[in-house]
Every structure is written in structure tokens, then in C-alpha cells.
Symmetry: C2
Subunit: 592 residues, 2 copies
Amino acid sequence: MLMQNPAPRLPNKDIQSLIQVALGEKKADLAVVHATILNVYTGELLPDLGIGVSGQWIACVGKNIDPAIGSETHVIDAAGKTVIPGLIDGHTHLAWTATAHEFLRYIMKGGTTTLVTESLEPYPVAGLAGVLDFLASLADQPIKIFALAPAMVSISPEGRRMPIQDLIHLLELDSILGLGETYWQALLQHTDLTISRLEAAVKAGKILEGHSAGAGEAKLNAYIASGITSCHEPIQPQEVLDRLRLGLHVMVREGSIRRDLKAISTLRLTGADLRRLILATDGINPQDLMQSGYMETLVQRAIDYGFEPVQAVQMATLNVAEHFRLDHILGGIAPGRFADFLIIPNIRTIRAEVVISNGKRIAADRELEVPPRRHRYADESLASIHLDHPLQADDFAIKTEIKRPIATVRAIEMTTDLVTSEAVLQIAVTEGRIHADVGSDIIKIAAVDRTRHPGKTFTGLLKGFHLQSGAFASSAAWDTTDIIVIGTNDRDMALAVNHIRSMQGGYAVVDGGGVIADLPMPVFGLIAELPLEEIALRVSRIDSVLADRGVQFPDPMLSLITLTGAAIPFLRICEQGLVSLKTGEMQNLFIS
Amino acid sequence: MLMQNPAPRLPNKDIQSLIQVALGEKKADLAVVHATILNVYTGELLPDLGIGVSGQWIACVGKNIDPAIGSETHVIDAAGKTVIPGLIDGHTHLAWTATAHEFLRYIMKGGTTTLVTESLEPYPVAGLAGVLDFLASLADQPIKIFALAPAMVSISPEGRRMPIQDLIHLLELDSILGLGETYWQALLQHTDLTISRLEAAVKAGKILEGHSAGAGEAKLNAYIASGITSCHEPIQPQEVLDRLRLGLHVMVREGSIRRDLKAISTLRLTGADLRRLILATDGINPQDLMQSGYMETLVQRAIDYGFEPVQAVQMATLNVAEHFRLDHILGGIAPGRFADFLIIPNIRTIRAEVVISNGKRIAADRELEVPPRRHRYADESLASIHLDHPLQADDFAIKTEIKRPIATVRAIEMTTDLVTSEAVLQIAVTEGRIHADVGSDIIKIAAVDRTRHPGKTFTGLLKGFHLQSGAFASSAAWDTTDIIVIGTNDRDMALAVNHIRSMQGGYAVVDGGGVIADLPMPVFGLIAELPLEEIALRVSRIDSVLADRGVQFPDPMLSLITLTGAAIPFLRICEQGLVSLKTGEMQNLFIS
């Protein structure tokens, strides 16, 4: 029984050189002098210190690093400035809309030097090879990107399918830190399958990331007893406290999906030990990233919301590194750690004037000095929409044997822009079919499998999305292998799916038989290869044409693609039918 | 490059049962109700909570664990009481004087449920097989005992010898958490050898324990840059702070070798984040254990010295578990952790009324309810004094070619009871020999190899031990393969060594040609197989007869066996000669 979380293999850490630089027997490649350093270990701000860097690593930190400075050393005088460790996003989704290359252009200059991303999106649609290609796109970048293996939680039995060998293969990779977010419902509803995956991760010596939104005391206990060590889902201070008390590391989410930091910031007033509190984005969309920045913004907000600056920085550095068992090499400014740090004006102003990552200056004054690496994706990754032939309008017909003029039907109803409930509707049956009823805000919704049984389609009804005309489709449907499409008429729905087929992925808004806005995402059908600015323009256009057609949600694309998701309550859809997240069971469309 | 400290393999954790107990679908084996629980994660004392235990593990903690309680559940009502996690000693030496069985008899009832011990003592004298036998003696006990692989730091080249395969073999064991204390001098003086061992540990995914006594800023930086993550040697608050700031986990030592807690307790006034501060014994002798207790005493003292009780307990629970990457299964009262906890009267009174370890009640009211397991050592472990024939008085003669009547000689001088310095003495040469001069407090000291080159002996001079008559010897000499002997005359020195040979290890005090006190230690020549009470009596007798002969040190046995040690400054002895710890180099006995 291996009980411990073992330590790192670092064959390319040249210990000999680090020792020599620390002793002044060899010169540092880079040095910072006269800095006020935030010591995240003790929580102190310590004035007039130097940092000596050898290769990618910090060799020494102290009052007198002069012996390590030679004529070849690149010296940065940080007098009057503050130096904090490189920021870490402990939970994000990089297989989301833009390539890593494009995200990094913006992320790097703000001072984030480490990311931990899920890889759950490429797996269902592109398999192990797809995940490996995705990981390859993250490797050898100017900042460190780790990933989590997909847990393959899905409302669709097809979506849950993953040979354990695929998981084991991924878990053996050094870039994989653990098993990705395993929703608690999966543990309780598909216990044997889920335990086999948790055990594979434990056997590989990796951690287990969690997702315990809405779990009450008994379920939370059961979930944590299984070995899960984190959650990024609490939205209220009491939920955070409940989870910290049960031993979880809790990530406060502040990104494009939700912004929970302000509500949770009152936790600072409780006096509780917050060493296990972490800031994370849980993914950010191109517009937010361009407008608002990344982890530097989260830390700044934490300060603005009343956290002590030291604590705010700990929440994005040491606390994250400790959770991931990386604190011996990351998350603080100390010898033997990666030389990842940023120079900021002062501890209350988290604005990177210089960003050092892996010992290199990668940005200064919000200008990149080292570009991220552009990845060439495999041909297979660029051809993931496996629909042999175009769909027809009739593929979205909802047929019934019911002879009565009115059928009782189960529909998905939007309770908020993301949460859905079950609506029971009385719908007219015409010639053995039921139809959208735009006047009553009832439209059609369909999930079209694009991967495992290409073309397999289930069509149901959706209430409360407020789309008054046309259709809206995406191949980025959460947790499934589907294209998700909603529409007021079958013809536009078919065209929207067919346009996605011709783009090999993306978003499409169709009306009156024509495409009026789109975003091509040919990488796995999930990621655009366009510049971030171009993506933002296209997203803005999609939002705009949808708003013109009545959709008022803040992020209609997110509202669409979460309709197949396995994490947000309650009624969802996949290519096999409607699924209740309360039970994990399929629900009939027709009640009577 | 595996960067992370991976997580545990726990094949015998029955996740299914834990989930069922947490959900109330299956009943707990043991439950505690109405307890005030110290939550080490948030640092809160939370009233009226229950704990449900399934097998060795905690399944649930909460306000309502009633569904988990059945007719077969053993229920402990802890109303009015406080429950804290089982205490952890993060650094001790169990190959010291008594068997694990005997130590555990006393350790267990105080509420210590996890130990981390060095294994550096058996290796040099009994090799890999000896360490494996030692580890076997620690396995399957009522509490958990982890070990560290020997780093084999020694002043003797023979003592440093260890095939890397032996180390790799040990590092692959699940019970080995890392590489044991590697003194910083070893890294700087024998860099290649030491780095090869550090790298073996890193490659095996294990942590690196440190020992940075006296290292200044540059050396401390060099040492930590090599990957070392802990130190248990600081004796002053500033030294602790210096090490915490450089990212080390710092253990405050409070045991039989030193007691540093009181001096260091002023750290609590600095406001520094002390999440990396840890309490440890660094070994305890039988008398101290019997009289003063173990980790419960350290926590109590921390409180008495002014630490907040919550912080004091964290220093012996969560903080230790986090350092060793065990916090997902140890160190707090939460689901999925080992059911290790103690019921105490209140948070300021660390007195275990009930001790639960691995889900079992092992002690109550300071009486053991489960006995520790007695180990049967291998025959080879019981025959480790490899001296073919008895020594003669003349083996301790110090001969010289010097023809002058007075020689200038280098002697070891006791500066304190543990620290030594180099004294330069003018000594009379008589018939080609020099002699002890008891009137000037100069006696002889010899190291006799008992393992690698049995009988190889070096004899020098010792000043300031105050032994006025007879000889005193031990086979437990630190960091070497030697019997260490000091004496006022060669005949008693020979007899003392020969008595140790006949006992196959131990301590002997000899005077006037007869043994007047002894302690047989036949296990590796390091450990007695006697009851702790009997050991204490014999130790007391040794102390007493030595006091009668002028020795006034608080622990003369410790003063003797550290004379070969590689960690305490400055002049030491081994079978090859005198060694300066400043340089690691051999020093000639005769200067001129």
C-alpha cells in the first residue's frame, strides 16, 4: 500500500549548478536586486532582497546575493517594487474556443506562469489520440501547463465510455496531475465505473479533482470519503466552509462561467484558517480574457473585496501548489523552485511590470517578449465531425403514435441562463407529429451524435430560451459527443448542423435558410484556429444576432452548450434522449 | 520529467463501504457522538459533531451521523469532551536503545498514532538486510510507523559506503517516505555522492529530509536548492524564520537530544504564517518517555509556552501530514482519512482519555487496550559485533616515532556535553608512547570498527569529559560502524570493548578490571530487548556510576555516542582517525 504522495523526478534540474550559484562559485543567469519580496511561506513582505536564477530555477534568495552576480548576469533592479510568485490557475479549461497559443498571448503578460487544465472535452470526440494531441499543444510553452485526465462523466452512456487503458495511459504522463473533475453524481449513480477510475488514478499516484455542487452533508461525506480532494463549485461562504472543514481544497471560481469571489470574500471575516482556499477561473472566454485579464485580475479583486493582499496572493500561488503537490518546485520564491515571478508596483496593485517564467523574461509592461508556441494539430484532430451525409429537416421531426389531438410532453425549461428544470406541456399533435410553438416560447432542441454513432439524433422541446426565429447550433456540447442544436424550425436546424459539418466544428446561427453568424472551430470541433481578437468579433456577432432574435442570456453560447452537461441541474439532453440529473436516468419525451 | 508528488495507492481502502456508511446505507463499526472536534483544516473548534468509522477509515463527520449508527456500532459519547486528530511525530529515531515494541507501549497510550523514523543506524552495521529487519519490526503495529531511507552521511569513508542499489531498493518500499536526514555538510563536502542519492530519492518519487544546523545564508540556499524540504535543527526563532522563508518545513525539536520549543515559542508573536512549523522529538530515550510522555507532552508544552491550542495541535497533525504528502489520509478528522483521533478533556489539556488508531480503540485512561506487536529479529541482526577475538590493552596504545620528550597533539575537547572543539596539547612521550593524563582531564578515546574492517582501531585523546577512573564504551556510535570507547587506562578500555563483544552490543562501564554497569543491546548492537523499565534502571545505574567517577553531563551515554557523529561540530573520531567537520577532512593526531 503506497500511502504517500511521492515527490518529483527532475532529471533536468542541474543541482550542481544551483549549488554553485548559491555559493557564488558560479554566476547567475538572471538576478533581481533590491526587491521587496512577498514570502508566501511566512506571509511576510521582506524588503531589499535579491534573487539569483540559474537556468529555469531559483538558486538563492537573500540579503547578499552579490557573489552570484557576474558580468554576464542579467540584473533587474527592483528598488521600490514588489516581487510576487508567478500566479497559478488551478482549474481551467483550455479546450475551449481558442487555441492555447491564443489564450497564452493574453494570459502570459498578466503574470500567470502555471495553468492546470481539464482535458475532458477532446476525449469523447477525438479519443486518446485527441487528448494526446491536445496535451502536445500545451507542452513546451513559455509557461507551464499541466492537465487532468478526463473522468468522462456524462449523461450519455456513450459519453461515459472510456477503456480503462486509455485512462491509465494518460495517468502515467508526467504532465497529468490527476483525474479531472468527477461530479459527485457520477460517484453515486455510476459507482463501480467511477470507483474504477478513481482507483486507477490513485494507483498511478495522482490526485482526484472534485466537483461537489449542491451535495448535502451525507453526500458530501460520501464523496470525500472516496478520495476526492478538491471542489471549485461552492458559490456561498457557508458552502466553502463546509468543504474546507471536510478536508477539501476549495477553489473559488471567478471566470466566464461564474463569478463567486465577491460573495465568498466574507469568509475572511470568520477567522478560519484559509490555507486551503484557492482562486481559479474554471475557464475564461476570449472576450473576458481580452477585457478583464486573467489570474492577476482575480488576485486584484480578492484584495479589492477585502482579503489581505498577502492572503490573496497565497490563494493563487502557494495554496494551489500545495494542493497539487507541486509546492517543492512551484508557488513561492525560494531556492530550488522554478524561477517564476512578477514585478509589480506594490502589493496592493497586481499589475505585472515584468514577468519571469522558467527563468526567462517573457513579458514586460503588458507586452510579450517571448511568443507562445503555435501547435500544428494532427489531421485527425481537425476532422472530428463524422457525419457521412448532410441532415435533412425531417431528421428533426418529432413523431408520435398518439392519436389524441393533445399530447402531454416533458420539455427542458430554462430556469436561469444555465439551470434547467422539467416542464410538462400540453402540445398539439398534427399528423402524428408535434412542433415548436414559438408564440409560447417552445422551440425544438436536438442532440446529434457526431462521433460514436454519427447522425444518431434525439429531438425534444425547449422552453424559455426566447429564440424567436432560426436555429443555433454548436459542436462544443458539454460532456457528450454531440452537436447541440435548437431552433424554431426544422429546416434551419438542419442547415445549422450541416454548416457545422462543413466547418468541421464550431457555432452557427441560421435564419431563413441562410447562415447569419458563425465561428469555425475545426480543432476537435471545439477550438477555433483564429486569432483571439477575430474570435471575439465573431462571438460578439453571434451574441448580437441572437439578441436580435430575442435571446437575452448573458452568454447564449454557454447557455446552449451546457444543455448536454452533466453538472448543472436538472433536465438535460443527449443523442439518446432526455436525462434527469437527479437520478441519472433517461426520461421519456411523451408522458401520455 | 515527473514534477508532481503523486498520490497514494490504497488498494485496501474499501471506498464502496465508506460511501455506504456516509449515506447511512450501511452501519459504522465505530461512532463518536456529541464531540467538540478540532478542525485542523479551518482551525475551528466545532461543537456537537459525530464521527462515523468504517474499518480503518473515517466515513463521515457531521451534525447528523445517526443514519450511520446501527445496533452493532460501537458508540462513544464524547459529550463535554474534545476530539483532536491522532498526533504525529515527524522525526524520530526508533533504532535507539529500546525495541519499537517497548517504545510503543508508552507512545501509544498518549495519543501518538503515526511516527516517522530514521533508519540510518542499522544500515552501516547490518546493511540492507538489517534495515529490512528493522522495518519489519515497525510493520503491522497498532499505530502507523513510516521510515526514511538512510542517507549514510558519515565522517568515515566506510560509513558513507552504500551501493546505490541498496538505496533504490529501500526507496521503492511503500513504508519509506523519503531520503533521511542528509546533513548539509555532506552535500557541500561530498557533492557527487550526495547528489546521486538525492536524485535516486527524487526518481523514486520521495521527499528529501534535511539537517541544516548552523548553515549560513549562502550554504542554506545551496542546500535547499538541491531539493531538501525540511530541517529539524533550528534552536532559535530567527533560525526557524530563516528556514521557513526559504520554503522549508521546520520541525521544532523537543526530545532527549535537545529541547528547543521554549526558545522558539516566541515565534508566535511575529504574526508569521506558521503552517510549515512542526513539532518533533528527534528521538526520545526510555527515561524521558516514561517520565514525560511523548507527542502529547510536546503539544501541551507548546500551549503552555503560549501557542494557541489550535495552532499547537496543527503543528503535530496537519502540518506534519502536509509535509510528508500524507494529508489526504492523515492529520485531520475528515472523511477518507485514517480513523486516528483522541478524546481529551478540553483543548487546553492534551491528555488522551481514549485513543483510536486505524479505527480501533487502542488505549483508554493511559492503559493500553491493544498491545504492540513483538518482533522476532533475524539471527543476523542479533550478531552484529564482528570482532574475531578479544582486544588487548595494547591495542589502545598510542605510539609515536617522535623522539622529543614532549609532543604536540590534537585532542577532542568537550565544549559542551555534545559540541566538541580541537584542543592542541603538549603531551609527554614515554618510550615511544603517549598516555592519558587524568589529572589534566585528558583521557583516551578510541573507535573500533565492528563491521567492515572488524578490529580496525584508532586511538586519540579526549579532554573535558571528566571521567576520572575506568572506561566507558558503546556500540551505538553515531554515523559509523564503530564501537566508541573512552578510558583512563588501556586495560579497562579493552575490557569494556570485550564486554560489548560478549553482549553482542550495548553499553559498558568498566573500572578496576571489572564491569560495574552495562546495558546489553544485541539488536544491531543498537537496541536492547529488555522491557523499557529495565532499560531505564540500567541507564540510571550507568549514569550513576559515571557520576561517581566525575562525569557531570546530563546524558553521558549521548555524550559518548555522538563523538563519532557527523552532525555536531567540530572535531570527531572514527576508526580511521580524527575528522574535522568544518572540512570533512582527516586530521593528524600528532601535530609535531
